[in-house]
Symmetry: C2
Subunit: 237 residues, 2 copies
DNA sequence: TAAATAGTGTCTTTAAGACATTATCGC
DNA sequence: GCGATAATGTCTTAAAGACACTATTTA
């Protein structure tokens, strides 16, 4: 192993060797949640799968780095991008002290290019060994997505602009791993206040045409179902 | 303004000038949520209040830095420490490219030293101007605490090892800003599965003695109240 | 008109809201 | 016994669970 990269700042103190941004790109494919991985060609971890990250530069905001790396690998930008965690343990990267800022990135499954420049979609419940401790980052990303699924409009990133209830249901099912009862699914999603019917219908296949819905707000927002806290005091006495 | 600190790594690429860790130390005092601030003595932001952060070194894990800075300022370690966000916009620190990893740190309100080496407890809903954009970090920390209050055992960090229901209620009220109906508060907290009665009672004052409770798990854990998702399909047909 | 899919209605069950009531202390 | 505080019980209201049923399409 070669020696670790080091850095010193102009005031004479040790500095991180670099900063990396890695997007955890998740998408439901064939009914299961997948993550976008790339195969490394250089050491360390040559021929090992990792997240499609890259180095940040001093003139770029970290979200921009994550977006850029994502576009380079998939050809599309993320609809939804949120910071996950920073992994800054000095020992985690053999190249040196390289903290990593992870992002959760969600893109519309419909616009994916399935196979692109060494990138591959892998089911999150069947991950191979990943370099740089990226398996932990994927786990954190999946947990975040699952945790926010019913409480926010995070699914904006995983559905086309207009979608039907059955379509949304299948996406939700792929993410959570649960099969929802259709009428209750509909009721809950409508009660969340996150979506509204557009009035249009999706014709085409057999069966009754499905009504089209859209998200009321495409920027990050919370469901308006009241969070289950105990009641506040009401009586005046 | 002096020139910005720069750094270059041994491979010749620009590197962050430094990395900082800042704990957002929150505690309920006099029924309101407070945050620990220190007054800066040097430029930039001299005589301005900021979070008690510090530089990370290449041989220290970031949680350790946050803990250390906290102990230096309060004399106690955090019972609960969790990473919040990383603020890495290159423009946010006038000294140079200095990403900041923020931590939410909770310590038992009973062991605080109220006034210590330039540190001060300030109510989070009455913050002064803060340097380095720290107001945003405080806001994120408060939001995280409030958001997790009823869904996790995050309150472990804010209560003594053994506590009574009224005591817990007052802490929860200070954090959420809501006055809970006592019997419903008790029912919800018991149903969460996070706490259990120890069998002991807290005697002393007037009135019926209160039963003592403790957290079942002191490491981070989630409430077992089922998260309100729509039902899964049950019927077999 | 049958198969397929989407959408509506509603009864049951569970959980939350709002108190009245009872219990146990110090003085 | 009285004021103070804690704990219990319970009735009401709201939300989730579990389906049966109705509606529209294509083949």
């Amino acid at each position: 192993m070669t020696s670790r990269i080091r850095a010193v700042n102009s005031a004479g103190f040790p500095a991180p060797a670099a900063l990396t941004a890695v997007p955890v790109v998740l998408a439901p494919l064939q009914g299961r949640l997948h993550v976008l991985l790339v195969e490394r060609t250089d050491a360390p971890f040559a021929e090992t799968w990792v997240l499609p990250g890259g180095f940040m530069s001093p003139d770029e905001r970290p979200e921009a780095t994550a977006q850029r790396k994502l576009t380079e690998k998939t050809g599309v930008g993320a609809v939804y991008l949120e910071q996950l965690q920073t992994y800054a343990d000095p020992q985690r990267d053999p190249r040196g002290w390289v903290p990593t800022v992870a992002y959760l990135a969600l893109i519309d499954a419909a616009v994916l290019r399935t196979d692109e420049s060494g990138a591959r979609w892998v089911a999150v419940d069947a991950l191979p060994e990943l370099g740089f401790g990226h398996a932990e980052i994927v786990r954190d990303g999946v947990e975040r997505l699952r945790g926010k699924l019913w409480w926010s409009n995070i699914a904006v990133g995983l559905l086309p602009e207009r979608f039907t209830m059955p379509q949304a249901r299948r996406v939700f099912e792929a993410i959570s791993g649960v099969t929802y009862e259709p009428s209750n699914f509909r009721r809950e999603l409508e009660l969340s206040g996150l979506v509204r019917a557009t009035g249009g219908v999706a014709k085409g296949g057999p069966g009754r045409p499905a009504a089209l819905y859209e998200f009321v707000e495409r920027r990050p927002a919370w469901s308006l179902r009241r969070s289950r806290q105990p009641a506040a005091v009401r009586r005046e006495s």
